[in-house]
């Protein structure tokens, strides 16, 4: 080794010893002052009439003061049923959320929902349930959560914007063969023959159940304009003759409609992309958890009809509908 390299040895040693030195552990110092945080708890499309749920956490060191109030301001006034929890929850050992009242029930005035604290508390997580109003359909809504402490400090947290879907939803409609079996997508309702005759231009589907030997017909949805072959034994009320396009699905268990364990959500865009080219006007042999995409004869609405349950003995079917206005 050449002599000139010996001068590098002290440098190497310094680096070596420095890198091996233990860092001293220090106890983390908590944040001072009033702090807040927020998460959105609901998933999937934001549907008019349903809730958007948030959890808003507020805290400050006990020695600095207590929480005086919490409020949420939405950009669009909420519908009736909106509230900010006046209880702070913790999860018990058995996994149950237990609420402790920390303030008076919330008061909603126009766009603001306020809870005034009545308990001496320095940390709290409040749930906020925003019931989506009709005025928000197709728009976006944002929220500003804020809190005030006894030491005069205020904090705020912005959430959103969240798009509110254009779709409508109706749950658990019961269709019964030969009775209430005329389904209107426009009204999202099921009518009997007499009412169907009075709303003939709104009837898009007919429910029927047939146990026919040799074939699997069973529970079916057929448009009034379908071939008589798929409407056996049905005498349609006068004027009920629409030809509705349909596309059968299986296991498309939308969470809002099925309310099962599947995290599948049908959103506005899903209605827009369904291909109804050469689609039939009937679907037969339907079972629970099946469904069908539907396009009304005038193309005004597209819908997803989900089959929650079928009952062979009662010749009935429980359906839930999501409907999207196309034009």
């Amino acid at each position: 080794m050449q002599r000139k390299y010996f001068s590098l040895i002290p440098l190497i040693l310094i680096i070596f010893f420095n890198s091996c030195k233990n860092d001293e552990y220090t106890v983390p110092v908590g944040k001072t002052g009033l702090n807040n945080d927020c998460i959105k708890r609901t998933l999937g499309p934001n549907i008019v009439g349903n809730n958007i749920e948030f959890a808003y956490a507020i805290a400050l060191p006990a020695k600095e003061g207590k929480i005086i109030s919490a409020q949420v301001e939405a950009t669009i006034p909420a519908a009736t049923g909106t509230y900010l929890e006046n209880r702070s929850f913790y999860t018990s050992a058995s996994g149950v959320d237990v609420g402790i009242t920390v303030g008076s029930p919330s008061v909603t005035t126009d766009t603001k929902t306020v809870v005034t604290f009545t308990k001496d508390t320095c940390a709290s997580t409040l749930r906020f349930f925003y019931t989506i109003p009709e005025a928000a359909r197709g728009k976006s809504v944002s929220f500003t959560f804020s809190a005030t402490a006894s030491n005069g400090q205020t904090v705020s947290y912005s959430m959103g914007p969240y798009a509110i879907t254009k779709m409508d939803m109706k749950l658990d409609l019961v269709a019964t063969d030969n009775k209430a079996c005329y389904i209107s997508i426009a009204d999202m309702a099921i009518y009997d023959a007499a009412t169907a005759a009075a709303n003939a231009d709104k009837i898009d589907l007919v429910y029927l159940y047939r146990a026919i030997t040799g074939i699997t017909f069973n529970h079916a949805l057929a448009s009034p304009g379908a071939s008589a072959e798929y409407l056996p034994g049905i005498t349609l009320p006068a004027g009920v003759n629409k030809v509705t396009k349909m596309s059968k699905t299986w296991a498309l268990n939308d969470f809002n409609l099925a309310r099962l364990q599947y995290g599948i959500y049908i959103d506005d865009v899903d209605f827009q992309v369904v291909d109804f080219t050469n689609a039939p006007n009937f679907v037969i042999n339907l079972k629970a958890q099946a469904g069908t995409w539907v396009e009304t004869a005038d193309g005004k609405y597209r819908a997803y009809v989900y089959i929650n349950a079928v009952n062979n003995a009662a010749s009935s079917m429980t359906i839930s509908i999501k409907r999207y206005l196309m034009k």
């Binding site: 040799g214 074939i215 798929y230 596309s247 059968k248 299986w250 050469n278 039939p280 099946a290």
Partner: protein
């Protein structure tokens, strides 16, 4: 020394060029490997509806001599929106390719699919006959 370096570098370049230009395994127009296999048949046939559930009432009957596939489908099957699925012998391919829904509603003119062997020499055209479950 410099002279030798030039010779070595030149040799390396020649070797690279040689390897690069040597013939790869042959592939067809779809980028699929052409092999030596001459077998050419359909081993299984499935037919799915718009809901991706089978519409067959029983297993499809495949006749590799007569080159026919016979499938009976449920009453009320939407024949215009079906997804056929062919299982082929190793290395074979199908023509035309299945890229989405197929309209089988013209029962008088059954669909034809050609199986092409792995060596791309043997071609056999199968005819798919669909029968709708009759109402008794």
């Amino acid at each position: 020394m410099k002279k030798y370096s030039i010779i070595i570098v030149s040799l390396i370049l020649i070797i690279f060029a040689w390897v690069r230009c040597s013939k790869d395994y042959p592939v067809d127009e779809d980028g699929l490997l052409i092999t030596t296999r001459a077998q050419c048949y359909v081993s299984n046939f499935e037919l799915l509806g718009a809901d991706f559930q089978t519409v067959r009432t029983t297993a499809a009957v495949i006749d590799t001599t007569a080159l026919t596939i016979n499938a009976v489908v449920f009453y009320g099957t939407d024949l215009k929106n079906l997804y056929p699925q062919f299982s082929l012998v190793t290395d074979a391919k199908l023509d035309p390719k299945i890229t989405g829904k197929v309209d089988f509603s013209d029962l008088a003119n059954p669909k034809k699919y050609t199986v092409i062997s792995g060596n791309r020499i043997v071609k056999k055209t199968y005819t798919v006959y669909i029968t709708v479950q009759p109402k008794l």
